[in-house]
């Protein structure tokens, strides 16, 4: 596993980290709950086939305190739009997980020309009263790994303090990621994305961890029914909410075969 190329772009006065690796047509990825404090094997699998480009969302690891100036949903979607354009992802294939998948869906809905094909892993954004998502913010610290991943160790590996990292700033950065997600999705995760799903014309792959304990699997069908373009649902066995951490090979293979 080699390190990606790192650059930054400015959004609202904050530096946003962009990772880039591989060759071929660009494929964007927006990370899920907790963000990406470190490069993960899933991205390597994508980079074997495409130029994978990973912009950090504001407030998530690599996204500084960019969330702190985003007060409304309009602020958020405009910030993500600027970020994708600056990262050279306009018109590219776009994948996202969890909170990032919700933002990817917004891009495809509001700027239909900006996304070629779309792959969403258990996106946030809807709320069904009869089948509510789990509350990711009302969790004991020791319960979060098992909520996010089928294998709690996958989350722990993502979040573990790397050798040589600042032992004060690292945990603050991880808390900030959860705060940034809260800033968009508190308290129910419902951004009224349901209203905009019919605007999405891009062919959309809906991936769901079979053991997702955050977003009930029934939401895949809700997305599929509401989308304005063709879609396909695929369930990932042995995976939790952040399926790309539990089953990197399988999720990467599904994404790559969808975007072609």
């Amino acid at each position: 596993m080699s390190e990606p190329e790192v650059s930054t772009v400015d959004v609202n006065g904050f530096p946003m980290r962009i990772w880039r690796k591989g060759s071929g047509a660009p494929l964007g990825f927006l990370a899920g709950f907790g963000g990406l404090p470190r490069w993960v094997p899933f991205l390597d699998r994508l980079a074997e086939r495409r130029t994978v480009i990973v912009p950090s969302l504001p407030g998530f690891p690599g996204g500084d305190r960019g969330h702190s100036v985003l007060d409304t949903h309009l602020d958020w979607v405009l910030a993500v739009r600027q970020l994708l354009q600056a990262a050279g992802l306009h018109g590219a294939d776009l994948a996202g997980s969890s909170v990032g998948a919700s933002m990817a869906a917004e891009m495809a809905a509001i700027w239909p020309d900006s996304v070629r094909r779309l792959a969403l892993i258990a996106p946030f954004g809807l709320y069904e009263e009869s089948d509510p998502p789990a509350d990711p913010w009302a969790q004991r610290a020791d319960a979060l790994p098992g909520l996010m991943c089928a294998d709690p160790e996958a989350w722990k590996a993502l979040k573990a303090l790397p050798e040589g990292a600042n032992s004060v700033e690292w945990p603050i950065e991880q808390t900030r990621a959860n705060e940034a997600a809260a800033r968009i999705f508190w308290p129910l995760g419902n951004t009224r994305l349901a209203k905009r799903l019919p605007l999405i014309k891009a062919p959309t792959l809906l991936l769901w961890g079979e053991q997702d304990r955050v977003m009930p699997r029934g939401y895949a069908a809700r997305f599929a029914q509401a989308l304005g373009g063709p879609s396909e649902i695929r369930t990932i066995p042995g995976a939790g909410h952040l399926a790309e951490l539990d089953r990197p090979d399988m999720v990467a293979e599904a994404v790559i075969s969808w975007v072609g």
């Binding site: 009302a138 004991r140 319960a143 808390t175 940034a180 809260a182 508190w186 308290p187």
Partner: protein, 423 residues
């Protein structure tokens, strides 16, 4: 020293096995535990107790705001304060306070506090807490990432609403109002004294110093545990060049007085264990939604052992630490100041020496203590302890105390004598 009488209004009939059978006293406490007809009696007892404390000569009576909370039955302390304003005549009423970010628009707080100040003839102390995560983020659905910004903006709006003479437009980040012009206006000018209940965050201390507000540390874990936080507060005041006027600060303390230490232990063990073991049983998953604590506060907590000690006194850490504790532990650790009048006096003098706080908010009703015992504790304290404490800090001026209307200007409140319709 000002001796104030603070009521939390706990539901007094939580079951014996509450801690074992229920995850939390707060946020998702089950409705089946609440009997409205029993609560009718509780509320009326609680208000009797507050009025009794006023009659006994306490310097102020205090109420506060909590939501979805089994130990705090005051979602709206203003309702209680309003009733107290009519049934008392002299005593300052401390509403500790209204969580500013929860009111929409926040001018509601300016209006209701102004009403209380006018009805009471200028006896209001206006408390502005941010509010706990349980109250604000979970019970009231506020976004933890915006709570403090909303709080600070709401504060600015309330102050302007109280002080600007002409109708104005407020163009805030979170609140926009074209016509702000509250009626009534407060009696106390430019506005009632403002007190800020808070945890141990440096930013809150700095803000209180800058605004010249009283900082109140409302821990339930007593003066021994509170020392680290109050030391931090006074060190920050010194750093900012502020004087050591003890009336810059307030502190809450559970207090239990009887003829002798043994009698006190006999009388107060049950309500104390009810309070610490049942009332403060809070599910840690509601403790720390990301964003509720500022990054500066997180950094201080991660970097400094002193701050770690202070943070450990938070409600949640307390609940963890206290698991399985009994009365002997509460007494030993200073959670509860208890004993004969002389023994209580000695401990509260130690509190005054150690913490240097001018406003002592006594918790004299706690847990499931009934009205008779509450009034006994209140009277014992008022007669045998209070006179000997009032002289503490006499050399300092309390610039943060209400300035009511002159006696001659005030309304006469008719005595309360309900009559049956048939009479």
């Amino acid at each position: 020293m000002k001796l104030m009488w603070f009521h939390l209004m706990p539901y007094t009939e939580l079951p014996e096995d509450f801690r074992q059978k229920h995850p939390s006293v707060w946020v998702d406490i089950h409705s089946s535990l609440f009997d409205p007809k029993r609560a009718h009696l509780m509320y009326n007892d609680f208000m009797d107790e507050l009025e009794f404390a006023a009659d006994c000569g306490f310097d102020a009576i205090c109420v506060n705001e909590h939501h979805s909370n089994g130990y705090g039955l005051m979602p709206s302390p203003n309702l209680i304060a309003s009733a107290l304003a009519r049934r008392t005549t002299q005593v300052p009423i401390c509403v500790m306070g209204n969580s500013l970010a929860l009111y929409n628009p926040p001018t509601r707080v300016a209006e209701e506090f102004a009403m209380l100040d006018v009805i009471s003839g200028g006896r209001l102390i206006a408390g502005f807490p941010v509010g706990t995560p349980m109250d604000t983020c979970f019970a009231y659905g506020q976004n933890p990432s915006q709570l403090r910004e909303r709080y600070l903006e709401a504060h600015d709006l309330v102050i302007r609403a109280w002080t600007e003479k002409d109708t104005f437009a407020f163009n805030g980040r979170y609140n926009q109002q074209r016509y702000v012009n509250i009626w009534p206006r407060p009696v106390q000018q430019p506005h009632p004294p403002i007190w800020i209940p808070g945890g141990g965050s440096v930013e809150t201390w700095q803000w209180c110093a800058q605004m010249d507000y009283v900082y109140c540390y409302l821990s339930y874990y007593g003066y021994k545990a509170g020392k680290a936080t109050m030391d931090g507060f006074w060190a920050e005041m010194a750093r900012l060049g502020k004087d050591r006027n003890p009336y810059r600060a307030g502190f809450a303390q559970v207090v239990a007085v009887a003829e002798s230490r043994q009698q006190a232990l006999d009388l107060y063990t049950e309500p104390a264990e009810y309070f610490f073991n049942r009332c403060l049983h809070i599910d840690p998953r509601f403790a720390a939604p990301a964003g509720y604590s500022t990054e500066a506060t997180q950094r201080a907590g991660l970097e400094s052992m002193v701050k770690k000690a202070a943070n450990a006194q938070s409600l949640i850490m307390g609940d963890k630490t206290n698991r399985g504790m009994t009365m002997a532990d509460f007494v030993e650790r200073g959670y509860i100041v208890i004993g004969s009048p002389d023994e209580v006096l000695e401990q509260l003098n130690a509190l005054a020496d150690d913490l240097h706080v001018g406003h002592l908010m006594t918790l004299i009703q706690f847990g499931n203590m009934d009205k008779a015992l509450t009034q006994y504790n209140t009277k014992m304290f008022a007669e045998h302890v209070m006179p000997r404490l009032k002289t503490r800090f006499a050399e300092w001026e309390d610039r943060w105390w209400p300035k009511p209307m002159a006696e001659a200007e005030r309304a006469e409140i008719p005595g309360f004598a309900p009559k049956l319709a048939a009479e």
